[in-house]
C-alpha cells in the first residue's frame, strides 16, 4: 500500500508543473475568500435584521397560543444536523475502498487496517472541521447575545460532535446487518444530548467533554477499521466516488442518484406487484400505473419531508418570532428540497430515454405520467403544511386549497430539475471570482428550482399578506396548471 501511494505521488508530481500548482492554489484561495466574504456579509446582515426585526415586525402566525422557545428549536435543528450527518456518513461508508483499491488491494492477504484507516481519519477530521465552520453562521444567527469566543467554542463543540457522528456511522459498519437498525437507533439517540452541548458555552466542560468523547469513539473505530466487511468497503467506495464526482461537476441529479443507494438494501421491494399486473385501459393508464409502482418501489425518503415540515412549523412557532420574510424563505427552501426528493423515478428514467420511446405514446403524455406521483406527494405535503399553518391562524382556511394546488404545480419544477440536460462542457468557461465556470452551469443548476419557486409565489403571498383570497386561489390554480402543461408539453 505504501508502494502504491508512493508511486502515485511520484507519478502525480511528474505530471504537475509548479506553475499549474501555484495557479490552482491562487484560484482556490481567491474563490474561498470570495465565498467567505459573501457568506460573512450575508450572515451579518441577516443577524442585524433578526436583531432589529427590521423589515417586518410580525410573524406569519400572530396571536398564537402555541409557543416554541427559540432555544428549543435551535437545539432540535442542531440535533437534526448531527443525525443527518450520521445518516449521510453511513451512506458514504464512511470506511471505504475506492473501486481500484477494491480490485487491487482487498484481495491481498494483508491486514486491511492500514489500507482504509488513513483515508477514514482524514475524511472524519475534515467532516468535523467543515461542520464546525458551517455551524459558525448558525451560532451567529441564533445566539445574538453570545460573544465571538462563545461562537467559536460552540462551533468547535459541534465539530467534535460531528466527529462522533461520523465515527458512530463507522461503528455501524462493524455490526451485523440484522443488528444495524437497533444500533443506528442507539447512535441517533446518543447524539441527542450531544446537540445540547454547543449551547452550554458558559460552562467550561462541554468542549473538552465532546473532544474526549470524539477521541474515544475514533480510537475504538480505528482499532477495528480493518474488520469492516469488504462488500461494505466497496459499496461505500462506489457511493463516495459517485458523490465526489457529482459534487465536482455540480451535478445535482447525479448527487441524488448516488445518495439513493442505501447500505444493506439488498432485498428488492416487491410493492405493488399485484397492482402492476392488473388489466389496464390503454397505454397511458399502463404507464401511470408503472410509474406509481416504481415511485413506491424506489423507497421515497420520508425523513427529509418530515424534517422539512417540522422545520417550517417550528420557525413560525418560535418565540421570539423571526421576521415573516425569513420564515417564508425557510418554507421556500424546504419546499424546493422536498420537491427534489420526489423526482427519483424521473431521474432514473431520464438515464434511459429509449425506455420511454418503447411506449406508443406522445412524449408529452409520458412526461405527464411522470408528474402524477410527484404532484400527489407534493400536494399532500403542501396540504399538510398549509393545513397546520391555517390551524395556527395563518391566512384562513382557503390557504389549504392554495397549498394543495401549489404542491401539484411544484411537481412541474421537479420534472424540470430531474430531467435537466447535462452541462455542455465543450463551451468555453466564463471567468468569475470563483474561478472559471462552465457557461451554462448556473442556469443548469437552477433549472427546476426556478419553476418550483415561481409556483410557490401565490401561496407564499397569501401567507405574507395573511389573507388567502379566492382570487389568489384562482391565480394559484392557473399558475400550477400552466406550469404542469408547459413542462409536460414543451419541455425537452
Amino acid at each position: 500500500m505504501a508502494f502504491t501511494r508512493g508511486t502515485a505521488r511520484r507519478y502525480n508530481r511528474t505530471r504537475s508543473a509548479l506553475r499549474d500548482v501555484l495557479l490552482d492554489v491562487y484560484s482556490t484561495v481567491l474563490a474561498l475568500g470570495c465565498v467567505a466574504a459573501i457568506a460573512v456579509s450575508f450572515v451579518l446582515a441577516l443577524r442585524d435584521q433578526i436583531a432589529g426585526r427590521g423589515v417586518v415586525e410580525r410573524s406569519l402566525v400572530d396571536g398564537r397560543w402555541q409557543v416554541l422557545p427559540a432555544e428549543v428549536l435551535w437545539v432540535l435543528l442542531t440535533y437534526a444536523g448531527l443525525a443527518s450527518l450520521a445518516v449521510l456518513a453511513r451512506r458514504l461508508g464512511p470506511v471505504t475502498a475506492s473501486p481500484a483499491e477494491a480490485v487491487w488491494w482487498l484481495p491481498l492477504p494483508l491486514d486491511r487496517r492500514p489500507l482504509v484507516l488513513p483515508a477514514f481519519l482524514r475524511r472524519t477530521l475534515a467532516a468535523g472541521l467543515a461542520a464546525a465552520v458551517a455551524y459558525l453562521p448558525f451560532s451567529v444567527l441564533t445566539a445574538l447575545d453570545r460573544q465571538a469566543a462563545g461562537h467559536l467554542l460552540a462551533a468547535a463543540t459541534f465539530g467534535a460532535m460531528a466527529v462522533i457522528a461520523v465515527a458512530g456511522a463507522a461503528a455501524l459498519q462493524l455490526t451485523l446487518q440484522r443488528q444495524e437498525p437497533r444500533r443506528r437507533a442507539l447512535l441517533l439517540a446518543g447524539l441527542l444530548p450531544g446537540a445540547v452541548l454547543p449551547f452550554l458555552v458558559q460552562a467550561v466542560w462541554p468542549l473538552p467533554a465532546a473532544l474526549a468523547a470524539a477521541a474515544w469513539m475514533l480510537a475504538c473505530v480505528a482499532a477495528r477499521a480493518g474488520s469492516v466487511p469488504g462488500a461494505d468497503l466497496m459499496r461505500g467506495g462506489a457511493v463516495s466516488g459517485h458523490v465526489h464526482a457529482s459534487v465536482f461537476f455540480l451535478e445535482a441529479n447525479e448527487l441524488h442518484r448516488a445518495l439513493a443507494v442505501e447500505p444493506g438494501a439488498s432485498r428488492q421491494r416487491r410493492w405493488g406487484a399485484g397492482l402492476h399486473a392488473r388489466p389496464v385501459r390503454g397505454a397511458f393508464h399502463a404507464l401511470v400505473r408503472a410509474d406509481v409502482v416504481a415511485f413506491f418501489r424506489l423507497r421515497p425518503p420520508l425523513a427529509g419531508p418530515l424534517l422539512s415540515l417540522a422545520t417550517c412549523v417550528g420557525v413560525v412557532l418560535i418565540h421570539p418570532a423571526l421576521p415573516a420574510l425569513l420564515q417564508i424563505a425557510v418554507m421556500v427552501i424546504a419546499g424546493c428540497a422536498t420537491a427534489a426528493g420526489t423526482g427519483r423515478v424521473i431521474r432514473r428514467t431520464a438515464l434511459i430515454p429509449e425506455l420511454d420511446a418503447l411506449v406508443p405514446l406522445a412524449p408529452w403524455l409520458v412526461r405527464l405520467s411522470r408528474l402524477v406521483m410527484p404532484a400527489l406527494a407534493l400536494a399532500f405535503w403542501m396540504g399538510g403544511l398549509t393545513g397546520i399553518l391555517a390551524a395556527l391562524g395563518a391566512a384562513g382556511p382557503l390557504l389549504v386549497a392554495l397549498g394543495v394546488a401549489a404542491g401539484a404545480g411544484m411537481a412541474a419544477g421537479t420534472l424540470r430539475a430531474a430531467a435537466r440536460p447535462a452541462t455542455d462542457w465543450s463551451r468555453p468557461p466564463v471567468e468569475t471570482p470563483f474561478g472559471p465556470v462552465p457557461r451554462d452551469q448556473l442556469s443548469t443548476l437552477l433549472r427546476g428550482t426556478d419553476l418550483t419557486v415561481l409556483v410557490m409565489v401565490p401561496v407564499m403571498l397569501a401567507l405574507f399578506l395573511d389573507a388567502a383570497s379566492p382570487m389568489l386561489v384562482l391565480a394559484q390554480l392557473a399558475l400550477s396548471a400552466g406550469a404542469i402543461a408547459f413542462q409536460a408539453r414543451f419541455a425537452k
Binding site: 481500484a100 480490485v103 487491487w104 492477504p109 466487511p229 469488504g230 439488498s266 428488492q268
Partner: protein
C-alpha cells in the same frame, strides 16, 4: 487451510438476487488438479454462481466450502488461497502495468517478485507496454493485465469469469495452456466460458447452468455451448 480432499465444494447451493434464485441448485466438488467449466446461455446464472463461490455475494441457501471451510472473503487465509478474475476493468490511474503486477506479487509475498512480473509480462505479451498506465492500453491488453494479476500470485483455487473475452485466438490458446499448467501444479480452477475450444482444451468436468444444473463431461458441455 490447504489439505486433502476437495478444494471447492458446493452443496445444494442456491444463488440469486433478493429472494429470487437465478438457476437451479448447485452441487459440485472440485479436487486439486481439476478444472471445472461452467457454461450456460446468457442470463443462466453462471457468473452469479461463481461470484457466490468467490464470496462476492451471499448464497440464498446451501453451502459453499473452500478447503472444507465456509467461504469467507474477508478472511486473510481465504484471500491467500483463492484468486478470482472477473471483468473488473478498474485500475490505479497512476500505476503502470508493471507496478500493478508488482503490487500483487509483493502483496502475496511472491519470491523474486521482479522476475515473476517479467515472466508474466512476457507470457501475456505486455512487455512492450510494461511502463504504460492502464488507461493507455487497449481493452484486450487490460484484460491480459487482469489475467496476469490472477496468475502471478499463488492460489489453490483460481476462479475465472469468461477470461477469453476480448482476447485474440492466439492468446486464448496460450491461456488454455496456462490454465492447464496451473491445474497441473495442483490448483483447482473454476472457469466460466462461452468458448467451446477453451473448454475442451482445459476442463476436466463441466457444469451446465440453467433452471436445472447438471454435471456433464467437457465434450457435452462444449456441445451445450455450441447449441447442438
Amino acid at each position: 487451510m490447504a489439505g486433502v480432499g476437495a478444494v471447492l465444494e458446493a452443496r445444494e447451493l442456491l444463488v440469486g438476487y433478493g429472494d429470487t434464485p437465478v438457476c437451479g441448485e448447485v452441487t459440485v466438488a472440485v479436487e486439486p488438479g481439476e478444472v471445472l467449466a461452467v457454461v450456460g446461455v446468457n442470463g443462466a446464472g453462471k457468473s452469479t454462481v461463481v461470484r457466490t463461490l468467490a464470496g462476492r455475494q451471499l448464497p440464498l441457501a446451501g453451502d459453499a466450502l473452500v478447503h472444507g471451510l465456509p467461504v469467507m472473503p474477508d478472511a486473510v487465509l481465504f484471500r491467500r488461497q483463492v484468486a478470482a478474475v472477473f471483468d473488473e476493468d478498474v485500475f490505479f490511474p497512476s500505476l503502470t502495468v508493471r507496478e500493478h503486477l508488482l503490487l500483487v506479487a509483493r502483496g502475496h509475498s511472491v519470491a523474486s517478485p521482479d522476475k515473476a512480473v517479467a515472466a508474466e509480462l512476457k507470457f501475456f505479451g505486455l512487455l512492450g507496454r510494461a511502463d504504460a498506465v492502464p488507461d493507455s492500453l487497449s481493452s484486450g491488453q487490460r484484460r491480459r493485465l487482469l489475467l496476469a494479476a490472477g496468475f502471478i500470485r499463488p492460489s489453490s483455487l483460481l476462479i475465472l469469469d469468461e477470461p477469453e473475452q476480448r482476447l485474440d485466438p492466439v492468446m486464448r490458446d496460450a491461456l488454455g495452456r496456462r490454465i492447464r499448467g496451473h491445474a497441473g501444479a495442483g490448483a483447482a480452477v473454476v472457469l466460466v466460458t462461452h468458448d467451446p475450444r477453451l473448454l475442451v482444451q482445459t476442463a476436466t468436468q463441466c457444469l451446465v447452468v440453467g433452471d436445472f444444473v447438471e454435471l456433464v463431461d467437457p465434450m457435452q458441455g462444449a456441445s451445450a455451448i455450441a447449441g447442438s
